[in-house]
């Protein structure tokens, strides 16, 4: 049984080595052996991280690689740090990877050959990058892991080269994200120039000894560009729907379920450990800026989500709007907001991955993910329809799903200081859940008239997709139904089991304790303060959850029955159409938005900082 310190590097090393073995041995092994090996490796990593989660308890596990432990508070080594939020997120990554591996047993039924180990090898490499990013305590290592998961994600997105769209999506994804990563590296360089440190804890301590000036603000914005682009926060979000609409379904489950959320985690981690001190960025400025970004992202994502007819793209925009909610929860800079967000992320990962998995079944059977084209086609799949509707309700925050609990806690975290805050949460979750329910009603029951075509509007249909399974059989493979079911159950359990909420509440108290983090890494004792926030169901939380679910159902029913009136057509023409035109699919536009976003962030933070 390995010690707790050994578990941290092991969690990264197991999938990394597994990927090498699969890539090399894949060409000689039969398909069954490859699947078996991948499953065993994914399960082993999950066990390793579950053990880490259990052992971390209410403290932090710290591992100095190569034995370069600090002496007298100084170290030249590289460190991995796990507190419960970090190890919990890594555990979520491992769980989803295992689910994806099980789901793709019958997916990609390719003839075995030279490339047969490639897909599982890439999945494991992806897992290594994401776990490393969640567990690292060193800013430059965070950049390396960030790029590792990025590169693998580009390759996975463009995996099906028969169609120009995946290549297009992967290129946009790759160029925008890499550019953002280089901006992060520039910021890391600036921080190193100021402090001579690269570890998160050491950086924070050293910044506090220097004064606050323009360089710190500049470094803050540049460093955060990478995570914010990965998190697809508006106006950095344009790459996400293009990549998610075209990536193979198992990859979408990972991208939407957990990779994007890692961007929010990175933002929170970097702010709290490096910039939260007196030498960093003042709290009110960060709070206002991130809150504005979060709410803007949530609203744009919700509007765009409602407009989609390609179901994968619809789910992608719903991810964007939920990311906006997660960022808003984190932006409150309070343990309650963080605990609510953590629960919300866990519940959302299950629901969203399940919805993508179910969409994969539709793609497999009908070669289409188009809501209009599939109208009434899937009447003979009631089980699938029920699961789909449950996923939509979970997105809308129906109690007792984990999403509902997380949403309720995050809503209450603003403590009536921001009266509109719960309203945004309810509106956004109702609209995104409603969009999924609308698609469910149309596809699985054929309700309402067949939607009319709207020529002249920029849109991405979901027709003419390549089925991802060759020679689709009439019967759905069992794993493709069981996996989404289990994922939805997981999302439910996050909300039902009080232990999950309690430990995440404790974890978020620990997460924002900056001296505690520095002390644990550099090995001096710090008294812990603050009581953890409470994370049980409250009557108002249940009520708000039901309100958003009822609104979602009502929106779906109205949308299915009614044709578009003249008033709403006018509104659509004035407000929504320009917004849709912005999502042009052109690389140059997206890079331009990236530059604009960085400039706006710099201006906003400089204006709010007192020198």
């Amino acid at each position: 049984m390995p010690g707790t310190e050994a578990l941290l590097p092991l969690a990264v090393a197991v999938p990394l080595l597994g990927a090498v073995v699969l890539a090399l041995a894949g060409r000689w092994l039969p398909r069954l052996a490859i699947d078996g090996l991948t499953t065993v490796l994914a399960a082993a990593d999950m066990m390793c991280l579950a053990l880490l989660w259990a052992r971390t308890g209410d403290g932090r596990a710290v591992s100095w690689l190569g034995g370069w432990t600090p002496s007298k508070g100084e170290s030249v080594g590289i460190v991995l740090v796990a507190d419960r939020l970090g190890s919990g997120l890594a555990l979520l990554v491992a769980t989803l990877v295992l689910a994806v591996v099980a789901y793709s047993w019958r997916y990609f039924d390719e003839p075995s050959g030279e490339k047969s180990g490639t897909f599982p090898a890439l999945l494991l490499l992806f897992e290594a990058g994401m776990c490393g990013f969640a567990l690292t305590g060193d800013l430059f290592n965070a950049f390396v892991f960030f790029e590792l998961m990025g590169v693998v994600a580009y390759a996975l997105t463009g995996y099906r080269i028969e169609d120009p769209r995946p290549l297009h999506g992967a290129l946009t994804f790759g160029i925008v994200n890499s550019l953002a990563a280089y901006c992060s590296l520039l910021g890391i360089g600036l921080l190193y120039a100021r402090t001579g440190e690269l570890g998160l804890a050491q950086l924070g301590r050293s910044l506090d000894n220097h004064g606050r000036d323009a360089l710190v603000v500049c470094a803050f914005v540049l460093v955060l560009t990478g995570p914010l682009v990965k998190a697809a926060v508006a106006p950095f979000h344009f790459w996400l729907p293009d990549a998610h609409a075209v990536a193979p379904t198992p990859v979408c489950m990972l991208l939407s379920g957990v990779m994007v959320e890692l961007g929010v985690y990175g933002t929170a981690r970097i702010y709290w450990t490096v910039f939260a001190g007196p030498g960093g960025i003042p709290q009110p400025a960060v709070r206002t800026t991130l809150l504005a970004l979060g709410v803007g992202t949530a609203l744009i994502g919700a509007v765009m989500c409602w407009q989609q007819r390609n179901i994968k793209r619809l789910l992608a925009f719903s991810t964007i709007s939920h990311i906006g909610l997660f960022l808003s929860g984190v932006a409150l800079l309070a343990p309650e907001g963080l605990a609510g967000t953590a629960l919300y992320v866990a519940g959302h990962a299950g629901a969203k991955a399940a919805l993508f998995a179910l969409t994969g079944v539709l793609l497999d059977r009908y070669g289409s993910v188009d809501e209009h084209g599939l109208h009434g086609q899937a009447r003979d799949l009631p089980v699938l329809g029920v699961l789909f509707a449950l996923g939509g309700l979970a997105l809308a925050g129906l109690p007792p799903f984990g999403t509902g609990l997380g949403k309720a806690i995050a809503e209450n975290a603003s403590e009536h200081e921001l009266w509109w805050f719960p309203g945004v949460f309810i509106l956004v979750s109702a609209v995104t859940g409603g969009a999924v329910l609308r698609a469910t009603l149309r596809v699985f029951t054929g309700a309402g008239p067949s939607p009319s075509e709207r020529p002249g509007e920029p849109e991405t249909t979901g027709e003419g997709e390549e089925p991802e399974i060759q020679g689709p059989s009439r019967k759905i493979p069992l794993p493709m139904l069981a996996v989404p079911g289990v994922l939805l159950l997981g999302s439910l359990l996050v909300g039902v089991l009080p232990a999950v909420g309690r430990s995440l509440a404790d974890a978020s108290r620990l997460f924002i304790s900056r001296p505690g983090y520095t002390g644990a890494v550099l090995r001096f004792a710090v008294p812990s303060a603050q009581t953890p926030p409470s994370t049980g169901w409250t009557s108002s939380g249940v009520l708000l959850g039901f309100v958003s679910s009822v609104l979602a159902v009502a929106a779906a029913l109205t949308a299915v029955r009614a044709s578009r009136g003249r008033r709403s057509a006018q509104l659509n023409h004035r407000l929504v159409l320009p917004l849709r035109r912005l999502h042009s699919g052109l690389l140059g536009d997206y890079v331009c938005w990236l530059a604009v976003g960085i400039a706006v962030l710099l201006t906003a933070l400089t204006a709010q900082t007192r020198w």
Binding site: E147, Y154, S178, L179, L185, Y192, E459, T460, H583, C592
Partner: protein, 114 residues
């Protein structure tokens, strides 16, 4: 003139970004991405530079002689490796795009919008 290398680095980044925005050829766009990346090399090496110092290889140096910062050089090397991986992968995607669909113009890829 300590600020000069930082200005150069910023200028290289801006040139790369401008190239990405106006490019009508994906190969050129990936080249521009590499240009933007070279701004990080310039910045990192400028941070570690010391006037009159030599390479941090202590084999044949007297003790106490000034050397440039080896950490940023390690960072720059890692950065080169990362950049090479990204560029190779993106170029491979463009090759597939050209082979199978006969275009390298980003404006002709109109399958994803709205």
């Amino acid at each position: 003139m300590a600020i000069f290398p930082f200005l150069v680095s910023g200028w290289i980044l801006l040139v790369g970004v401008f190239g990405l925005v106006v490019s009508r050829d994906l190969i050129q766009a990936i080249g521009c991405l590499s240009v933007a990346q070279s701004s990080t090399y310039v910045l990192l090496l400028a941070i570690g530079y010391r006037r009159g110092a030599t390479a941090p290889v202590y084999a044949d140096l007297p003790v106490g002689s000034p050397v440039v910062d080896p950490v940023v050089q390690a960072l720059a090397l890692t950065d080169v490796v990362v950049g090479a991986t990204v560029t190779a992968l993106l170029l491979a995607l463009v090759i597939q795009l050209r082979k199978r669909h006969g275009t390298v113009d980003p404006e002709q890829l109109t399958g994803l919008r709205g």
